[in-house]
């Protein structure tokens, strides 16, 4: 494909955004750079959830569990002196996956709303542990003072500017990795399960096993975002396990369009911007957000992205 062709057709919009992203910090102040960092991290979180929601048809309401586990792991390791990013993030991913492996055993035997209830309850158990085990987690006060990690190559991540590009790079890596995963035979099988479990079973697939592996992948990728968030904010506390976080991720999928490559990221962008900007305009920002969410779900329950897609056809 020639270079010029990359900027045509389906690559036009993404390329435009990629260029905009690279130039962004030179156009806008540090505050907005910070917002975009948050968008990248939330986008990774939302994409990991979409493996379950958009591709397997498992509406997990406790996704913050893996995010929080990786977050606390990052916090503990950092405060213990471990500065190497790669080591910490691999551990975070591993723990996220391990938690998912454990929770998956308990949750996947349930369907639909029961699945939602169980995943919600499981993440709340973790929340309760983080909240109450003060001697280890300092409870609601949380663990402050977590510094930026070292990634070697002499790059210092303390300035938000560098952390911005770093997060962008991780975001791209995750995007590509998920693209490969979800367009592989494994991904097709997951979507087959979402369409009709009975048919897949009849075709001889071990449906439970596919769901379970998908669940673990979701936990692993969620772990990446959990670790990144703690490095960005410098702080971890039980809200990293919060039900509002899990529900917000679902909202991101509904808003942006689940089951698509960029939908979760768009949804993440919308929600992060909405939350931060609306609060600058009115004290009643929570009310405004609630109204917006209800309105969007009532009108665009298939996701804004798919509305655009339909529009283009």
């Amino acid at each position: 494909m020639k270079v010029a062709e990359i900027f045509k057709g389906p690559f036009l919009l993404p390329s435009f955004f990629a260029v905009l992203t690279i130039l962004f910090p030179f156009l806008f102040s540090n505050y907005y750079v910070g917002l975009v960092i948050q968008i990248f991290i939330m986008a990774i979180f939302a994409m990991s959830l979409d493996i379950l929601v958009g591709h397997t048809g498992l509406p997990s309401m406790g996704h913050a569990a893996y995010y929080g586990v990786a977050g606390y792991a990052t916090g503990f390791l950092c405060l213990a002196g471990v500065k190497n990013f790669w080591l910490v993030v691999v551990l975070g991913m591993g723990l996220g996956g391990l938690t998912a492996a454990f929770f998956g055993l308990l949750a996947i035997r349930a369907r639909g709303p029961y699945f939602m209830l169980i995943t919600l309850a499981l993440s709340q158990v973790l929340w309760g542990i983080a909240f109450k085990w003060r001697s280890v987690t300092k409870g609601d006060d949380g663990l402050p003072g977590i510094g930026r990690p070292e990634i070697g190559m002499g790059i210092d991540l303390k300035p938000d500017l560098y952390f911005y590009y770093f997060t962008f790079a991780i975001f791209l890596i995750v995007l590509v990795a998920l693209f490969i995963l979800l367009n592989s035979p494994f991904g097709y099988t997951l979507r087959g399960i979402r369409e009709s479990e009975s048919r897949m079973k009849a075709l001889g697939y071990n449906v439970w096993l596919y769901k379970y592996v998908g669940f673990i992948f979701a936990g692993i990728f969620a772990g990446i975002s959990g670790a990144l968030w703690v490095y960005y904010s410098g702080f971890v506390n039980p809200s990293n396990f919060g039900v509002d976080l899990s529900v917000k991720a679902l909202l991101m999928l509904i808003l942006g369009g689940s089951g698509s490559l960029f939908g979760p990221s768009i949804g993440a962008g919308i929600i992060v911007l909405l939350e931060n900007l609306v609060s600058g305009f009115t004290e009643r920002w929570s009310l405004v957000l609630g109204i917006v969410y209800v309105t969007v779900i009532m009108l665009f329950s298939e996701g804004i992205f798919s509305v655009f897609k339909r529009g283009r056809n």
């Binding site: 102040s29 003060r134 609601d140 904010s233 506390n237 609060s279 600058g280």
Partner: protein, 389 residues
């Protein structure tokens, strides 16, 4: 629509400070929702009262007050602090009620070199092990009045044995530690300590245990704040403990903010406090009168805390003739501020924490209203105060 909102705030949020005649921006952080919501608004009301008394101007420069809601959550507090510093370009930060929020923003504030004047959060380490030239505190340290209280319980109230109940978070533990330190130093014994979680709906299970100690200890020490304090005091009376085992509390328990909901349950309860609405000085009487006139409710210790915080900042600004841009001079001036506050004379100690007189107060009823009156006073209490044995 979202894109246009985004672009709109980019355009208007990106202005920097031009010259010295420009206004001075104070970024203010407090919770307006949650367990401490009422304290948040009390604190702000007090702060703004002082700003209005000076016409929102100092040395010819206008003061712009930018208010952000921390929700009492450390992670939200950090986000809002970043917004105030990076988007609104404030020159001073003030406020903060929750110690958890204070600890979470400390590193960022120091790295950004923006002075923070804490007008409530008592997180002890911030003016001790984790102190910094950029961090000031005009309210109290979690242990300060408690040190005085512990001594008072032994020396003046004759208590020899106590049980302690406090909220299970940083402030609760730090305050208990302060009280324990002096009480034990004097020779007293703490028979049991219990720390119910923040937001405990029902103290009943803990109170049933307290009933076992009636006749065996002299006082119950308590620290709870906000809605917890209301419930605790009410339930303490419901279970018949109020008459049998007297409470001696930290001021947050029977603060003016809580009394309308506690009523008879709080009558006669004694506490130690940095501020007492009944303090009989002309400055306090004036302050209470102005506050009641403007806001139509009684000022509590949070209200006075906000007021004093604003006054410290403004006095320092006056000393440097409004040139806050000369940060070193401003900080030096701030360190040397002293004046007569509604609570009495105040000034900073060497670690930039405030020194004040501690009141012993009691809830009384007059003309159908419940308020605290002064019973006694311990002068010049700082965060390291110890009694002479």
């Amino acid at each position: 629509m979202i894109m246009s909102m985004f672009l709109f705030s980019l355009a208007f949020g990106n202005r920097g400070i031009a010259e010295a005649a420009e206004p001075i921006k104070i970024g203010y952080l407090a919770p307006y929702v949650g367990v401490f919501a009422k304290f948040g608004s009390d604190l702000r009301d007090g702060f703004k009262l002082y700003l209005e008394e000076i016409g929102n101007k100092v040395a010819g420069r206008q003061i712009i007050f930018i208010d952000e809601d921390t929700e009492g959550k450390p992670e939200v507090g950090l986000v809002k602090t970043k917004k105030l510093v990076e988007k609104d370009h404030v020159q001073i930060l003030a406020g903060i009620i929750s110690s958890g929020v204070a600890y979470a923003v400390r590193d960022y504030v120091i790295a950004s070199k923006v002075p923070l004047v804490i007008t409530n959060a008592g997180a002890t380490k911030l003016t001790q092990e984790q102190r910094s030239p950029f961090i000031f505190r005009t309210s109290f340290a979690n242990c300060q009045q408690d040190l005085a209280g512990g001594w008072y319980a032994y020396a003046k109230m004759g208590a020899r044995k106590v049980i302690m109940m406090g909220s299970d978070y940083a402030a609760g533990h730090e305050k208990a530690a302060g009280f324990k330190k002096t009480f034990k130093f004097m020779g007293g014994e703490v028979v049991e300590e219990t720390y119910p979680p923040l937001g405990t709906n029902d103290f009943a299970p803990y109170l049933a245990k307290v009933a076992n100690y009636v006749g065996k200890v002299d006082r119950t020490w308590a620290f709870f704040a906000g809605s917890d304090a209301i419930r605790f005091v009410n339930q303490y009376q419901e279970y018949g403990l109020k008459e049998k085992l007297k409470l001696f509390c930290e001021e947050g328990v029977t603060d003016e903010a809580n009394l309308p909901s506690q009523k008879e349950a709080a009558l006669g309860v004694e506490s130690y406090a940095r501020y007492c609405i009944g303090h009989d000085s002309s400055e306090n009487k004036r302050f209470v009168r102005e506050y009641r006139k403007k806001y139509n409710y009684d000022p509590g210790s949070l209200s006075e805390g906000g007021y004093v915080g604003a006054k410290f900042i403004v006095k320092a600004l006056e000393a440097v003739k409004g040139k806050i841009e000369n940060q070193e001079a401003f900080l030096k001036a701030l360190r040397s501020v002293k004046f007569e506050a509604p609570r009495g004379p105040v000034r900073f100690d060497e670690h930039q924490n405030v020194i004040f007189n501690t009141f012993i107060q009691r809830v009384e009823k007059k003309d159908g209203k419940y308020n605290n009156i002064v019973v006694d006073m311990i002068p010049d209490v700082d965060q390291y105060w110890m009694p002479k044995k």
